[in-house]
């Protein structure tokens, strides 16, 4: 017995020795596009993961804004030095999906490394955006948000409106706007950030109308834009009219319009659910969150909104055959993904940052911790993502268009011309459709290979 334990002891030492001798963890390069303070919170998740094991080491680097990170990753790939993981914003999904052998789909990664993640527990909108039509995941969802409405309760009260009931329909909101003019010191009743995301993309999703053919691009590269439809025309026309009458103010590209809300200039703001941290810090008035309004009488409306944010893509090293990655490296990536998919980790991320929890289990954890009792309205974005019973339609699964960054800019440019009075809303949508379709055709042609 002694001898046997000694022997087994020696044998296990013999086996362990090489492992002990191998002290260098495998480095996994991870490029992300989150500036402070969110970037710091993300990097904390990486250090936390590194602390749970010694075999792999995630090395996060902030690579600039999302577009900058994207172009850096692409250039690195061309130069055979791509990072293992790159955080890509949702708008770049179309490009990444068609990246061929530049990326390693997550479902393949999971299968090859024998890792399992319960994607069925993920919110449908989150999962659907980043998966193939049969449900297989292409990228790893992480930081997701959606568009909601932020409104100034004091202004509502001063205007004689119920501060705890934000209008559910655009018709009701249209009636409320003139009353809000000048209420409680605000300059303009309504404004928006992320014009296309809030007022066209999410607008189309919740009304269950298509943004583009072939299920918003999920069905293939031959997709064409369909934004020039009666409902969107009606809505854009309304916005242009309201801008003329001082009931709405266009605030600029991306989130340039956001400061107008906490400063008290605009009584209503359409923007990301992640805006919460800033509002709670800066607003000096009572405020509330509400779901996006819809046009009454639209069949099927309202259903779920779609997400924004970013996901993690796994990249091969370079164009050379084989991809240039070892099985160990892929295993490291898979382990990291498994770590961040844990409900506790995800729930904490949600509570720290204002992004939505991506899993129902994390949602439950946050609820059990009383997070939504302490932060009223923080569950509205999640409820909105689950609106309509959590069943996605082709119009509310998400958007998968190639060259989408360019298409969004095109839509913004054309609508800006409409806001300046240089063209009507219909003309803007028509011009955006034809220019956008050109981008789609170019993308289709370039990605045939």
């Amino acid at each position: 017995m002694h001898r046997r334990t000694l022997l087994t002891g020696a044998m296990s030492l013999g086996v362990a020795a090489p492992a002990l001798g191998q002290t260098q963890p495998i480095e996994i390069q991870f490029w992300h596009g989150l500036a402070q303070p969110l970037g710091g919170l993300l990097e904390k998740r990486c250090t936390d993961f590194n602390a749970t094991q010694t075999k792999y080491k995630i090395v996060p680097t902030f690579r600039g804004s999302y577009p900058e990170t994207m172009v850096a990753a692409i250039a690195a790939f061309r130069a055979n030095s791509a990072p293992h993981i790159v955080q890509m914003f949702e708008v770049g999904t179309g490009t990444m999906m068609n990246a061929g052998r530049a990326v390693k789909p997550v479902h393949e990664l999971m299968a090859e490394t024998g890792t399992t993640i319960d994607f069925d527990d993920y919110l449908p909108g989150v999962r659907g955006y980043y998966s193939l039509s049969d449900g297989r995941m292409m990228s790893m969802p992480f930081n997701s948000s959606t568009t909601v409405v932020w409104y100034n309760k004091d202004a509502f009260r001063a205007a004689g409106l119920d501060p705890d009931k934000f209008p559910e329909t655009w018709q009701a909101l249209a009636e409320a706007l003139p009353k809000l003019k000048g209420a409680a010191g605000t300059e303009v009743p309504m404004s928006t950030a992320w014009l296309t995301w809030a007022q066209i993309e999410n607008f189309s999703a919740i009304h269950n109308i298509p943004l583009a053919t072939l299920a918003n691009g999920f069905g293939g590269l031959g997709t064409e834009l369909q934004i020039n439809n009666p409902l969107v025309q009606r809505h854009m026309g309304n916005l242009v009219d309201w801008q003329k009458n001082g009931l709405f103010r266009y605030g600029g590209r991306n989130n340039a319009g956001e400061p107008a809300f906490p400063s008290g200039q605009a009584a209503i703001m359409f923007t990301s659910s992640g805006f919460r941290a800033r509002v709670s810090r800066e607003a000096r008035f009572n405020w509330g969150v509400a779901m996006l309004p819809y046009y009454q009488g639209t069949p099927g409306a309202p259903i779920n909104s779609i997400i924004g944010g970013a996901s993690f893509w796994v990249m091969n090293k370079g164009p050379a055959a084989g991809g240039g990655r070892s099985a160990d490296e892929f295993k490291g990536v898979a382990e990291f993904f498994k770590y961040i998919s844990q409900p506790e980790v995800d729930a904490q991320w949600h509570m720290d940052t204002g992004y939505v929890p991506v899993r129902r289990a994390s949602y439950a954890i946050a609820r059990d911790k009383g997070f939504y009792r302490d932060n009223p309205g923080a569950d509205i974005p999640i409820e909105q993502l689950l609106r309509g019973g959590g069943v996605l339609t082709d119009n509310s699964r998400g958007i998968r268009l190639g060259g989408f960054v360019e298409i969004r800019t095109i839509m913004e440019e054309e609508l800006e011309r409409a806001f300046q009075g240089q063209q009507t809303a219909e003309q803007a949508l028509a011009a955006a459709t034809s220019r956008g379709n050109q981008v789609l055709r170019n993308f289709q042609r370039a990605n045939r290979g």
């Binding site: 969110l38 970037g39 902030f62 690579r63 250039a75 130069a79």
Partner: protein
């Protein structure tokens, strides 16, 4: 009698007119200076107040009391809103300084050598080399920006000081300038050197360099400013926050509505960004003007 009065009246009128002219001249110049000084004045003032005052819109015209706070904060911690990453001004200033110095010194050094070779030697392909260098004038870095970025990625020079400076040394302004100047060096100098038995390198060190001193000084000013003020190239090349230069860092502080801009810290950083190049220009004014106007590219 009448002649005397006429002359006096005329002289007085002429004096008045000249006085008027002088006053007008001074006024216009003062107005000009004001227009050119206004932005810097407001920036200086802005850097001495706190965010709230500026954010409220009470744009001040007189200094406030926050100067020390702001400058210390920007220097050691950086600023620019709670959502952009804060790089201390001291780091950015240092990076800009190294970059500008490397570009200025590097360009001057290799241009001196090349101009010397092209002017004072006869060798096959001489004019071919000259034209190859000359062509680089035709393409400022902004035009070849994307391919240069791809080249740098291939060479793994992204986010390095080498990668930041080398492409900007590649253009030929200095070489051309030196060439023009060297052509004006009288032949007698060269003959004298040959008679003395001095080789080309001695000639270069003892004759050409001292003669070129003013040109070198002028070029240094121009190239230092050029290097310091680079924007597009560092914007693309640098994502490592430790390598951020101050001009690019400053513009990144202004979120496009991303967050409440901390304008006071932005203005402070702007003052930091301005001081070295302005100091160089003002102090080396004489050589600078000479370099610009006498050699004209």
């Amino acid at each position: 009698m009448s002649a005397t009065i006429d002359v006096e009246a005329l002289a007085a009128a002429s004096r008045r007119r000249r006085m008027r002219e002088r006053v007008l001249t001074h006024l216009s110049l003062i107005l000009g200076v004001a227009i050119f000084a206004l932005p810097i004045w407001i920036t200086l003032i802005g850097s001495t107040h706190d965010t709230d005052t500026i954010g409220r819109g009470d744009v001040p015209l007189l200094p406030g009391g926050e100067a020390w706070n702001n400058y210390a904060h920007a220097w050691s911690q950086g600023g620019g809103g709670r959502n952009t990453f804060a790089v201390p001004a001291s780091t950015m200033l240092w990076n800009s300084f190294i970059m500008a110095m490397l570009i200025a010194v590097g360009k001057i050094a290799i241009s001196l050598l090349s101009a010397f070779a092209v002017v004072f030697f006869a060798f096959p392909l001489r004019m071919v080399f000259f034209w190859m260098i000359f062509i680089t004038l035709m393409l400022p870095v902004e035009v070849r920006i994307i391919p240069t970025f791809q080249v740098m990625t291939s060479l793994s020079l992204i986010d390095t000081m080498t990668g930041l400076t080398l492409p900007l040394i590649a253009s030929a302004t200095a070489t051309l300038l030196f060439r023009q100047f060297f052509l004006t060096i009288p032949d007698e100098y060269v003959e004298a050197a040959k008679i003395d038995g001095a080789g080309p390198l001695r000639f270069f060190k003892d004759v050409v360099l001292p003669l070129s001193a003013t040109n070198i000084a002028a070029l240094f000013v121009i190239l230092f400013i050029y290097g310091w003020n680079q924007y597009l190239w560092p914007l693309l090349m640098v994502t490592d926050r430790d390598l951020e230069t101050i001009i690019v860092g400053l513009t990144k502080m202004i979120g496009i509505g991303d967050t409440q801009n901390e304008w006071n810290l932005i203005m402070t950083t702007a003052v930091f960004a301005l001081l070295p190049p302005v100091a160089v220009v003002v102090l080396m004014q004489r050589w600078f003007i000479k370099g610009l106007t006498e050699t004209e590219k």
